[in-house]
C-alpha cells in the first residue's frame, strides 16, 4: 500500500483552493455580465466571432445565456457537487477563452475583453491570455491529481 509523502499531504488543499478561486471567478464574471447584458452582447459583436458575427439572433441568445452557464458552473465548483466533471468543463472553458483571446490579439483586435467588467476592463492584452491559461492549467491539473489520488486509494471489496 502506498503511503502519502509530506509533499502530497501539503498539496492536499490545492484542489480546494483551485475550486474556490475558479468557482468564485466564474460567479463574479457571470454576475457582472448579467448586470449589463447589452454591453456583453455588443462586446461579442465587436469581436466578430465565427458563426455568431453573421447571426445576430444567435449572438443575442448566446450573450444572455452564457452568464447563467458561468454562474451554474461556478456554483458547482464552489459547492463541490460534481467537482471533478465541473473542473474539467471549467478547464475546457478557460482553454477556449485562451485560444480565442490569442486569436483576437494576433488579429490586432483592439476592443475590450468583456470578461470581468471593471476588474479587467482594459483592451485585450497578454495578461488576459496568461490569466485564462493559468486557470485552465490549474483546473486540468486538479482533475488529473484527484484522479491519480482516487486510483491510489484502497479499493473496496463487496
Amino acid at each position: 500500500m502506498e503511503t502519502e509523502t509530506p509533499t502530497s499531504q501539503s498539496r492536499a488543499w490545492m484542489p480546494l483552493v483551485i475550486r474556490l478561486i475558479t468557482g468564485g471567478l466564474l460567479l463574479y464574471s457571470g454576475w457582472l455580465k448579467l448586470g449589463d447584458l447589452n454591453n456583453f452582447a455588443n462586446t461579442l459583436d465587436t469581436m466578430q466571432l465565427p458563426v455568431l458575427s453573421t447571426n445576430p439572433a444567435l449572438l443575442v441568445l448566446f450573450a444572455e445565456s452564457f452568464p447563467w452557464f458561468e454562474l451554474g458552473l461556478g456554483a458547482l465548483l464552489l459547492s463541490g457537487l460534481a467537482a471533478r466533471p465541473a473542473a474539467l468543463v471549467a478547464g475546457a472553458l478557460f482553454l477556449t477563452f485562451t485560444l480565442l483571446l490569442v486569436t483576437l490579439r494576433l488579429q490586432g483586435f483592439k476592443g475590450e475583453c468583456g470578461c470581468l467588467g471593471p476588474l479587467l476592463s482594459s483592451r485585450i492584452g497578454w495578461l488576459h491570455v496568461g490569466l485564462d491559461a493559468l486557470v485552465a492549467v490549474a483546473c486540468f491539473r486538479m482533475v488529473f491529481e484527484t484522479t491519480q489520488k482516487l486510483k491510489q486509494t484502497p479499493t473496496l471489496k463487496q
Binding site: D45, S65, R84, K157
Partner: protein
C-alpha cells in the same frame, strides 16, 4: 471494486452531463428571469454625429478621414469630394490585411462614417473593433 468515478470514461460522461445540465439552465434562465440582451443598432450606436459639409471640410483640411460604406451605385451617383476610404464588404477579405494597419494608424484622428441609406455594412463591426474615434455623417436629404 473500484468506484465508478475513477475511470476517465465516467469522468468524461460526467462532464458531458454537466455541460448538458448547465446548457439547459442557461437557456431557461433568460426567459425565467426576464433578463435579455439587445444589440445596439449600428447606425444608432454612434452618438457622435457630424454634418456632411463640415465632414468634407475637415477631411480637406486633413483633420479627419471619411470612410464611405454606401453601396457602389450610391457612391458613384454622389461621390465624396476629394475621395473617401472604401472598405471591403466582407470582413474576411484579404484587402483588410493592407487596410487594417492604415486604419489603425488613424488612432486619435476622427473617422467619419457615411452609412448605407438602409441596412448594415458588414465591415462596420470590423471598423468598431479597431477602437477608432468614429463619427456618423449626417447626409443631406
Amino acid at each position: 471494486m473500484s468506484s465508478p468515478a475513477e475511470t476517465p470514461r465516467t469522468l468524461g460522461l460526467g462532464a458531458l452531463l454537466t455541460v448538458a445540465g448547465l446548457t439547459a439552465l442557461s437557456l431557461v434562465m433568460p426567459s425565467a428571469t426576464g433578463l435579455h440582451a439587445e444589440l445596439s443598432k449600428p447606425i444608432n450606436l454612434l452618438t457622435q454625429t457630424i454634418n456632411y459639409s463640415l465632414a468634407i471640410e475637415n477631411s480637406r483640411g486633413g483633420l479627419a478621414v471619411i470612410v464611405d460604406l454606401r453601396p457602389t451605385d450610391d457612391r458613384n451617383k454622389n461621390p465624396v469630394p476629394d475621395g473617401a476610404v472604401i472598405v471591403p464588404e466582407q470582413s474576411d477579405s484579404p484587402e483588410w490585411e493592407k487596410l487594417t494597419p492604415l486604419l489603425k494608424s488613424l488612432e486619435g484622428t476622427p473617422v467619419y462614417i457615411i452609412f448605407p441609406p438602409s441596412g448594415d455594412h458588414p465591415a462596420y463591426s470590423k471598423l468598431r473593433s479597431l477602437g477608432l474615434d468614429l463619427w456618423s455623417v449626417e447626409m443631406p436629404r
